[in-house]
Symmetry: C5
Subunit: 154 residues, 5 copies
């Protein structure tokens, strides 16, 4: 199994590092990394990781600034990743952090680390098969913060 890791120089946290550590600790999957300038460069990078490096799944890391235009750019990057997945017939887990998700840089760092690690585990689970995550279906799992958990009806 081979996992692609695509990330950016724009991001302010090296999320890929956390993901790679998590993957190495929990599997013997091979890793191919591709670093691009910004998240709008991720879609084609991920497609290349699948097609040129024969990755079985890709995790894509990006970070968005605080301005309205940053949200629009994240939207464009995300739509590119949707299309890349369909063209490459392969999962690309989008791991984006928005700088306005928290008030302090410390919190952003913590969200980024946690989200990267949990999505690395999601990638490993998806590689095991289509129903590996079914035991958690509808369980309100989150990445980057605590799980919301399932809605409980008395």
């Amino acid at each position: 199994m081979k996992i692609g890791i695509a990330d950016t120089t724009f991001a302010r946290v090296d999320m890929a590092k956390f993901a790679i550590e998590t993957i190495k600790k929990n599997s013997d999957a091979k890793i191919a990394r591709y670093t691009v300038p910004g998240f709008k460069d991720l879609a084609v990078a991920c497609k290349k990781l699948v097609e040129e490096d024969k990755c079985d799944i890709v995790v894509a890391f990006g970070m968005a600034g605080k301005m309205p235009i940053d949200r629009q750019c994240a939207h464009e990057a995300s739509l590119g990743l949707q299309q890349a997945q369909l063209m490459a017939n392969t999962h690309i887990l989008e791991v984006f952090v928005h700088m306005d998700e928290a008030k302090t840089e410390k919190e952003i760092y913590s969200i980024a680390k946690n989200r990267a690690e949990r999505h690395a585990l999601n990638a490993l689970a998806l590689l095991k098969g289509k129903t590996e995550l079914t035991k958690y279906a509808g369980m309100g799992r989150r990445q980057g913060k605590n799980d919301d958990g399932p809605i409980k009806i008395k």
Copy 2:
């Protein structure tokens, strides 16, 4: 006939369970399930259910949070499903619930259950042929809440 069921660990209600129960009660269709982390992972999962598992139709379940960014993410997931349908030449019924559709978790649960069950029936109807639902054309049918019904002109 084979029906694909794609769902997420992000959702806070196990909608797929309700759909599967409805399908089993009303047909002898086979079912293939695929659980992914979030709704942006659904498009390629649905395409794989069609191409790898030979599903004749897919129902995709997702849940969106309450923040503006959640709405944007739902939009991206939904556009992915539009494209996946066209690429796979197969219906993918989008069954999304937005956490701001109701004020209490109990209501959300109830909307999610009803929407899942009714769209499971829609999937069964679509499998019967292009005009199976024509008797309800323009009848204001809803999933997740009561039908609005057709506009009546005196």
Copy 3:
């Protein structure tokens, strides 16, 4: 010539009926109908009408609710139709009515009927050739309400 008619059970007016009556009154074109749950199911339905039923043109009928999320959903459905047209190399006339286009249900009904009938005539015109409508180019024609007409410069 064969005209595809795709419509939904979500809509509150049976627009397809008006279109079919108009087509029958004005041509001997064959008609293939496909009824789906909602307008996000239209794109692949229209593509199937072209590819499976050999329709030469398709008219797609949908109705959007009043909430902001409904507008977003209409946007997704519309982008699906854009893509479907390009993939099928065939016109798909989008006939959408928004519930906030008028204040009373009676007006909505009237808009829906008029828009359906006029777009049925547009479909017949497009089947005749690329310049059939050229005599009306820039004439401010509308469907669902009165024509705005061309801008007149004294």
Copy 4:
């Protein structure tokens, strides 16, 4: 050389006429015209002008109303044109006028005429080669109003 001209009956100015006059005055290019109901019908029309009529470039004319929904529709039409260009591997110059670009109909008419004529010249330039317009690169050229010109740094 052959230039495709796609336009609509929705527009309130016959922009194509101005473009055709400009093309005839400045070249001996052949012209193929295709008139459709609205601008959401342009993308596939332009693709057909390339594929069926062997046009080397297409100019697409549309006009958007003043309401928010009109802006969304223009967005959908424009994204269709982006995709059509990539699928047809051919330039499609988008010549859209928004009814809220000016306060009087007279001004709209004047913008529409000027924009149509200037984009007709752009089409002729693009047909000459990839660097035909390079002498104007970064020069702040506009269509429909006066050029902004390049930023001058003292």
Copy 5:
């Protein structure tokens, strides 16, 4: 190695010139240039630079006006570039400047120049391989303004 440079006559700064100077100073890569009217014409131009001129990477320069409609147009152009990259399987670095990024034309000029030069260097780096930029991953690099740098956690 060959680098495509796509730019517009709409922009008010000749960004391509700065990029070309930077490329020539730092490499012996060949350059192919393509100038189009506006940024919505860039996607197909970039695809042609890859397919017809055999460019290994493309840098696309555009400038957006200050109005809301300009932002929407930038969004459309950007989505076209996302798709073009995936279809051409080649990086297209999007170098867009928004006229509302700064208050004075002098600042805009300075942002445009810096962004063009830095992205030219990014293009050269990407040509060297997938991990050439990995040493800067998560380092908060910017183009057009000072780097934000990585988040530092004590």
